[in-house]
Amino acid sequence: MITVYGQCVAAFVFGTTVGVLVQRSRWCNTAALRDAMLFKSYRNTKALLVAMMILTVGFTAMISIGNGNPMRFDVGINQFIGLFLFGIGMVFAGACTVSSWVKTGEGNIGALWALLFLIVGLFLSSLVWSFSYWPLAGPSMTGRANAAGLQLGFADALTLQRDTGLPAIVFGVIQAGALYALYRRILRRERETLAMEGQEAAISVKKPALPTVGRAAPVANPAPTARDGLSTLGD
């Protein structure tokens, strides 16, 4: 059993490693969704899917042998509404929870501003909760469906294992397979786009060259195209 102090040290070491790796790779969850939707650019999306595949197999394997600490709280319509608002917010702010910390560490004042207002939003919501007591939290969670509270109860790999008698890893492998199929689909789409761009380039090469006299000089720093993606808080 790890002490509270040990938990905090482990979390700090993990967080520091994440900070270094995300800073070096420029990974961003916002870009993983936004750039895929807007520009069909999947650099961050592929990384997210790979992490999800590894974690699905890893977590369900641990759950199968009775290890790990899964999150335990009732779920309901509030998860959908909350993350819907979060999704809009992260695109507006140009950063998710990870990239706001990482960009703040890089000296980005916009990211620090986003973090400050995220904290304001959290506190304001705590005041609203103190009047409404919704969604159900803490001791009022029962783990069962509750129509009045718009709650569906609790279900995860552990309950699947208990209810079906099959090890959680079986379901984990199925989910990882579905994620892999999505990953393959993205790779195929990228190859198709590259092939199309290659054909267009070949056609333009066949065209007669224009006379060089009077042509504009090459621009040292060409303006970013749509395919370069949007800047994210001053990337």
């Binding site: 790890i2 040990g6 938990q7 905090c8 993990f14 967080g15 520091t16 490693t17 900070g19 995300v22 070096r24 790779s25 420029r26 969850n29 939707m37 807007l38 592929k46 990384a47 997210l48 790979v50 992490a51 590894i54 974690l55 977590f59 369900t60 759950i63 999150m71 779920v75 319509i77 998860q79 909350g82 993350l83 819907f84 608002l85 979060f86 809009i88 917010g89 507006f92 702010a93 929870t97 990870v98 990482v102 560490g105 000296g107 004042i109 916009g110 995220l118 304001v120 939003g121 959290l122 304001l124 919501s125 705590s126 005041l127 969604p135 569906l152 109860g153 995860d156 989910q175 808080l233």
Partner: protein
Amino acid sequence: MDFFKKSLDPIVALAIIAVLDIFLFLIVGAWTVGGGETMIAGLFVKSLVGAKEMNRIPFWHLVFKPTWAYWKIYISLGMGFGALVSAILSKEFYWRVPKHLSEWVMITIGGLLMGVGIRLSFVCNVSTFLGLTPEMNLGGYLAVSGLVIGAWVGTSVYKKLLEA
């Protein structure tokens, strides 16, 4: 060091993070950011108004009791620290300030919406994609649906604003 001279493939970075996250899952729980940020919000306001005033708000004694001994805080602080060290070593640290008023407005609204969203759903984007969903929690699927639709709506609005 060579590591700080070139960029890292995000697939490699996220694969390493995922493996480390499995160990964290064994020790305390999966990687999450929203819980730590909620606790930071509580500690920040408590330092401003005092413990007595804070205890008058039911949320802060029924759901989250502000304490520094909460491991999730240190993931967030660690991410900021790690990025700072990495940015300095790679000579990429410099002050960046949004230039236009419109950027400040968008970031402010975005930050507020993220905060409200986290508190309403009890999860953030990290715990949605890299915690709940890999644990095959029903909440993960609901949250992913909400997040993807929300990001689509946000992107559509953002695109319209850019075009305008």
